[in-house]
């Protein structure tokens, strides 16, 4: 009980410190301006999708970026400023353990972030609904939550392993590269591999639905593709959708508008005339364009062909998105607090900002690194650091919640659970342990 009282006391102090400073007030003002003014200033393309993009991607994205920076810097200040100003000397002579200090301050940041995120998400939600009413969007098009089902295929890692074994058998493995390097290149290639569908050619996939879909429900098929710009008007095709478990005839959906790089269409399950719920479907696409005029269609079949099934309400998905963002902020708060326990305020802020930038560009760096780059000693350290940082950040930033929200894709419970486990429990626990160890070892006062 005494531990809880101490943690609560430190929590309350950190809250008061935040709420009674002008910096935090200025931040809230800036966020309010962002949420209210940005959608009014940035002009969309007039489509509901465009409005939705501005509200969700720009407004929420910018507000979240602001919160990331402010959380990181506030966390950096919480210990460092107290040590620099000698304020910690009084608290440290009281019977408080280092973990109680750390937890009290971290909980305060969690609560502040929850309040800020709630305010921003609520404001954006109200604006989304208001715009929907004003512009007469069809709800099913925009503000939905649908489970994403990918076709049944081996994972890129499995495919890479298979290709590696094949190359090994054929003695065609590239010379001078380790197995890990070859597998990394093969996995990237498998992820990004295009399937080319020429006129008169067909391609088919099988989808296992995550739950049986009732006969009165809708399912949506989405195809994203690339094709030659000048001949895309000549491209046409037919999609055939059929339940996998029965001999029922396939539904044929003719597709002739390939002007945008995405086609989405709904199918009512009643059309399959089945009495049983649908658990798996077969989908095929046939290119019916004129072979003389139409160019081929290119699909990254692991990413670009999906079936979407109804998956809860938009509100619940919006809340999940907020929870994912909150979890990332929790991780940043823990990281900032640990840096704050190690360094003075300017050093902690500088280090945290540099590492945040590395997280943002680390993935891009590792994506463009070639095998030749890896051999150059001058580039090696940079590649190693970028790879290390992006590997650590990979789990934290696995889900892009805003992308899911604007695409109407449900953030699955498993993904949300993983984000919360990784960002709110495991990583903060590691950072916390490190911070506590440093606080216990560090001298919190100077001499005479």
């Amino acid at each position: 009980m005494k531990i809880l009282r101490r943690i609560f006391g430190i929590f309350l102090l950190a809250l008061r410190a935040s709420l009674r400073t002008k910096t935090v007030f200025a931040l809230f003002l800036l966020m309010a301006t962002t949420v209210l003014l940005l959608p009014a200033v940035v002009k969309g393309d007039g489509t509901p999708q465009g409005d939705c993009h501005i509200l969700v991607l720009y407004t929420l994205g910018f507000s979240f970026a602001l919160l990331c920076l402010s959380t990181l810097w506030a966390a950096c200040a919480l210990f460092a400023a107290e040590i620099d100003n000698q304020l910690i000397q009084l608290s440290a002579t009281k019977p408080v353990r280092a973990f109680e200090f750390w937890l009290g301050k971290w909980f305060a940041l969690l609560l502040l972030n929850a309040i800020a995120l709630f305010a921003v998400y609520s404001a954006v939600y109200v604006q989304l609904r208001w715009k929907q009413r004003q512009s007469g969007w069809q709800e099913s098009v925009q503000l939905v939550s649908r489970s994403v089902v990918h076709p049944l295929l081996p994972t890129p890692e499995e495919e890479a392993q298979e290709t590696y074994l094949l190359l090994e058998k054929q003695k065609a493995l590239p010379q001078g590269l380790s197995k890990a390097q070859v597998l990394r290149v093969l996995t990237t290639k498998a992820q990004e591999r295009y399937t080319i569908v020429n006129p008169d050619e067909s391609i088919s996939w099988r989808f296992q639905l995550p739950r049986p879909v009732a006969t009165n429900e809708l399912i949506t098929v989405r195809l994203r593709f690339d094709t030659e710009y000048s001949t895309r008007t000549q491209v046409s095709g037919v999609c055939r959708v059929a339940p996998a478990a029965s001999q029922a005839p396939a539904l044929e959906i003719p597709l002739d508008d390939f002007s945008l790089q995405e086609i989405e269409f709904d199918i009512s399950c009643e059309a399959f005339q089945q009495t049983q719920d649908l658990s798996a479907i077969n989908l095929s696409f046939t290119h019916t364009g004129n072979p003389a005029k139409a160019s081929a269609l290119m699909l990254r079949f692991r990413k670009d062909v999906v079936v979407l099934t109804q998956g809860g309400s938009f509100e619940a998905n919006f809340l999940r998105s907020a929870l994912v963002h909150w979890s990332v902020l929790a991780l940043l708060a823990a990281f900032g607090l640990t840096l704050s326990a190690c360094f003075s305020l300017p050093v902690a802020v500088f280090t945290s900002t540099i590492l945040l930038l590395l997280v943002m560009i680390g993935t891009s760096v590792t994506e463009v690194v070639s095998v030749e780059d890896e051999k150059e000693w001058l580039k090696k350290p940079g590649i190693l650091v970028s790879r290390g940082v992006s590997a650590v950040a990979h789990h934290a930033l696995r889900i892009d919640p805003l992308e899911s929200v604007i695409n109407g894709e449900r953030i699955e419970n498993r993904a949300l659970g993983e984000a919360l486990l990784w960002n709110v429990l495991l990583s903060p626990a590691c950072f916390g342990l490190l911070g506590i160890l440093i606080l216990r070892r560090r001298e919190l006062a100077a001499g005479d």
Binding site: P95, G447, D448
Partner: protein
């Protein structure tokens, strides 16, 4: 008698970034402070007093030697910290908090239940005479008022050991007197007090024993009376004696001692005169120590 602090061969060397020794702040210090005594640690600036205090409080780590608090606890032991109160040389307080919030915060660090914390806070605010400004931010306080808040927080847990670093700094003469009275009264009720001060008169007034440090070393250590006693001189004080009687006694003493006898009329100290002129009862912000101690007892 039990010892509350026992320091053996304590040393502290400050090092630079490259771990090269820069200054030896404390050298081979040995001290024992008994329960219930008022102990004064004296020394010029840079003598190592504050460094020694900070090592006792676990804020600095000794380079060598040991510090034992309450017979068996190290300075970083929370069980020891729960039994002591500390007033630093400069009261670094959170400027955005009010005195009430400050005391409640420190009470929470001791894990005091809410009701006890509130009661204790009220009593201490009364004691240090800050009840009327209890809800004003500490950042707007004068040095003396901030010092009073600092003193109150040091007493929030009713400590068994009170460590006061320059407790009278920033206080007016009435405040100084009240602090000294408080120290005496706390000592009477069994609290051990360790204090440092530049004002030697303060230390002389209240301390049972003192240690004098210079350049990190212990120069003198013992009871105040023994250290200050001049064994060659005897002084008599006789109030209301006439000038003739005084001259006669002086002659007799000179004949008896066979040495010249110095005769003067003792003056009261400036502090005593100030307190006589400025009555503490007329000041609303003065310490109210006696009622507080009554309640504490």
């Amino acid at each position: 008698m039990n010892h509350v602090i026992q320091i053996k061969n304590l040393g502290k060397i400050f090092k630079d970034f490259w771990h090269r020794p820069v200054v030896e702040a404390v050298k081979d210090l040995n001290l024992t402070i008994q329960q219930g005594e008022v102990f004064g640690l004296l020394g010029p600036n840079g003598s190592g007093k504050s460094t020694t205090l900070k090592m006792m409080l676990g804020l600095l780590r000794p380079t060598n030697g040991t510090i034992e608090l309450f017979e068996g606890h190290g300075p970083e032991d929370v069980a020891a910290k729960a039994r002591l109160g500390y007033l630093p040389e400069v009261s670094h307080l959170h400027e955005f908090l009010t005195p009430r919030e400050t005391l409640l915060y420190y009470a929470s660090l001791f894990g005091l239940p809410q009701a006890d914390a509130k009661r204790r806070t009220k009593e201490l605010l009364q004691m240090v005479g800050l009840e009327s400004v209890a809800d004003r931010a500490v950042g707007k306080f004068s040095k003396g008022m901030a010092r009073r808040v600092g003193l109150a927080q040091a007493l929030i847990n009713a400590p068994e050991l009170l460590i006061l670093d320059e407790p009278t700094s920033g206080l007016d003469p009435i405040g100084c007197r009240e602090v000294k009275d408080l120290v005496r009264l706390l000592a009477k009720s069994g609290v051990t007090v360790l204090m440092t001060s530049h004002l030697l008169a303060d230390v002389e007034d209240v301390c049972d024993r003192v240690a004098i440090m210079n350049r990190g070393e212990l120069c003198a250590y013992g009871s105040t009376r023994d250290l200050l006693r001049n064994p060659d001189v005897v002084r008599f004080s006789i109030p209301g004696l006439s000038a003739e009687a005084a001259t006669e006694i002086r002659h007799q003493l000179e004949q008896r001692a066979a040495r010249p006898v110095h005769q003067d009329f003792p003056e009261m100290s400036l502090e005593a005169y100030f307190l006589k002129v400025v009555s503490p009862e007329s000041d609303n912000t003065a310490f109210k120590v006696a009622p507080f101690l009554e309640k504490t007892r």
